[in-house]
């Protein structure tokens, strides 16, 4: 049964149709990747699903309930939480305090929240940096902090927006392992990603977005052989090379 059902969603900015009639579903426990060239509309789609932007048309249903018109915090409270591609740490708060904000979504008291936050920091490998201020973190740690804060809210669905971007191969491998662990704990994941190694290693199914439209969908192996996808990434003329 699908946990998230997006149907006919469109979003334009003036004359630019960033997302056009996108339809897909995310099943409970699935790990779905959303790929596509730069400017394909992936992040816009995330903004719409997570409540930061209202769709021009279409419906988004989460666990049977329509999300259109709900604000991001409402959606987070229902169990679906997103991260940001451009990391947004709370700069003047420590790493622990950053994660605490997420944990307070689940519990009212600071002491319980600290317990949750510490567990999450241990899981995400940030425990040693708990006392460091948000702005002093390196990029890989910022990416982890994005993930840690989102995890602290106790999500059923994680929307990850390019958490691998800018990481070196070792860091990427570690983050792939971490995401696998989180998925293994029963969290459903929708992943926007450019790093194909991560996409191939993690995803069970891939959606490809190009110029705001869904052009392909399928298992990783079939999607990378799809001529339309190759054309979208490399331009016309390359699609025949593979055959």
């Amino acid at each position: 049964m699908s946990l998230l059902a997006v149907e006919g969603v469109s979003k334009s900015f003036g004359g630019l149709a960033a997302v056009q009639r996108v339809t897909f579903t995310l099943a409970e426990g699935e790990l779905l990747a959303l790929i596509g060239p730069n400017g394909a509309g992936k992040t816009t789609l995330f903004h719409v699903i997570s409540g930061f932007m209202a769709p021009d048309e279409g419906t988004i249903r989460y666990a049977g309930e329509s999300l259109v018109g709900l604000r991001p915090h409402d959606i987070c409270q229902r169990g679906m939480v997103r991260t940001f591609q451009i990391t947004r740490p709370f700069n003047r708060l420590t790493v622990l305090e950053n994660v605490l904000v997420g944990a307070l979504e689940r519990v009212a008291h600071r002491r319980q929240a600290v317990t949750i936050a510490e567990e999450v920091l241990a899981l995400t490998g940030l425990a040693e940096k708990a006392g460091q201020l948000g702005h002093s973190l390196t990029l890989p740690d910022r990416k982890r902090l994005e993930l840690a804060r989102a995890l602290a809210t106790g999500p059923k669905v994680l929307l990850l927006d390019e958490v691998m971007a800018g990481l070196n191969p070792t860091e990427t491998t570690r983050l792939i392992d971490l995401i696998r662990t989180i998925h293994g704990r029963g969290v459903t994941i929708l992943l926007i990603e450019h790093v194909m190694r991560a996409v191939m290693a993690l995803s069970q199914r891939i959606l490809v977005l190009n110029y705001g439209e869904l052009i392909a969908e399928g298992t990783p192996q079939t999607v990378v052989r799809n001529p339309k996808v190759i054309e979208a990434y490399l331009g016309e003329g390359y699609s025949s090379l593979d055959s």
Binding site: F52, R71, H73, F90, R92, V101
Partner: protein, 320 residues
């Protein structure tokens, strides 16, 4: 922990002993210091913790002052009760301004302008409303009666101002340790990120505004019964709004000690420039005051208290 208790008791004893030993000029200086530290603490909840800069807190101050004075002079209601009516009214008005600002996503400069405009509108209303005395304002006849919030001698005002400051600081202390406080700080640091993590940013900003406005209004009542005079162009001026916000900013906004430290510094600075530079040329003291203020803001952009704390931590080898 016991050292903290010792320091607390020492400071407490000093504050109780102090007013009995200093001259009336210094009593007045201390009262003003506590009173502005109180207002700064109230402003701090919205401006310092939630990061929503208000340049119109004079509005809530005036609502508090006028409400208690009108209730007192026209209906004989004690200012001790009237001040809470004023606080409720100020909190209600803050919700109106907050709704306009936060519902339509005004941030930064636009929110500042909205708060400024609200105070200006209120000033114009006060100038033209006979009930509030119009341009000449309202005078309060002095009748030394504690139940009417009127006292002979400054000692009483000293302890009331100190009590106000203690209460506001306790409120801020509690906020700092609560979920509410953690959410306010998250909103200040990055509103969208907070929203994504389940923080109802609209609701918490509204709540911070209400608490901040209500406390500010209580300070207005104190002012009315300390000065015995309310005039729209004084209490509702932008200058007054700046006076309210400048102390927490100088001392360190978003910290509990910032407004207190800032108030002491600016009061001493003002007194110093008045007594040393007042004789040469009229207005020179204000210029000196302004220059010193710029120096503080320029070199200690986060405020005096966080900077001192940073130095202290570096000196003792702890993390900054």
């Amino acid at each position: 922990m016991s050292r903290r208790l010792g320091v607390g008791l020492g400071v407490g004893a000093l504050l109780v002993w102090l007013p009995f030993t200093v001259s009336s000029v210094w009593q007045n200086l201390l009262i003003t210091t506590f009173y502005f530290a109180y207002l700064g603490q109230a402003w701090n909840i919205l401006g310092g913790y939630a990061g929503q800069l208000s340049l119109g807190h004079a509005a809530f101050f005036a609502i508090g002052a006028y409400t208690s004075v009108v209730l007192h002079t026209h209906f004989g209601i004690s200012p001790w009760l009237g001040m809470f009516a004023g606080a409720l009214l100020a909190a209600a008005v803050s919700q109106g301004i907050g709704y306009l600002g936060f519902r339509f996503g005004l941030r930064g400069f636009y929110f500042i302008l909205l708060t400024l405009a609200a105070a200006e509108i209120l000033r114009l209303i006060a100038l033209h409303l006979p009930l509030l005395g119009g341009y000449t304002g309202l005078f309060i006849n002095f009748t030394p009666n504690p139940w009417q919030f009127q006292f002979k001698g400054k000692i009483w005002y000293y302890f009331i101002a100190l009590g106000f400051l203690a209460v506001a600081s306790a409120v801020v202390w509690l906020i700092e340790r609560s979920k509410f406080g953690a959410y306010l700080v998250a909103i200040r640091e990055d509103e969208d990120a907070a929203e994504a993590l389940g923080v109802d940013t609209f609701r918490y900003k509204m709540l911070a505004y209400a608490v901040s406005a209500g406390l500010t209004a209580l300070g207005g009542t104190f002012y009315a019964y300390y000065q015995f005079y309310l005039q729209p162009n004084t209490v509702l001026s932008m200058h007054h709004s700046v006076d309210i916000m400048i102390r927490p900013i100088v001392g360190g906004s978003g910290t509990i000690l910032g407004p207190i430290l800032g108030s002491f510094l600016l009061e001493l600075l003002g007194e110093f420039s008045r007594s040393y530079f007042a004789e040469g040329a009229a207005g020179l003291s204000v210029v000196i005051y302004g220059v010193l203020l710029i120096v503080v803001v320029l070199f200690l952009p986060r405020g005096v208290y966080p900077t001192l704390l940073g130095w202290l931590r570096r000196a003792t080898g702890r993390r900054a």
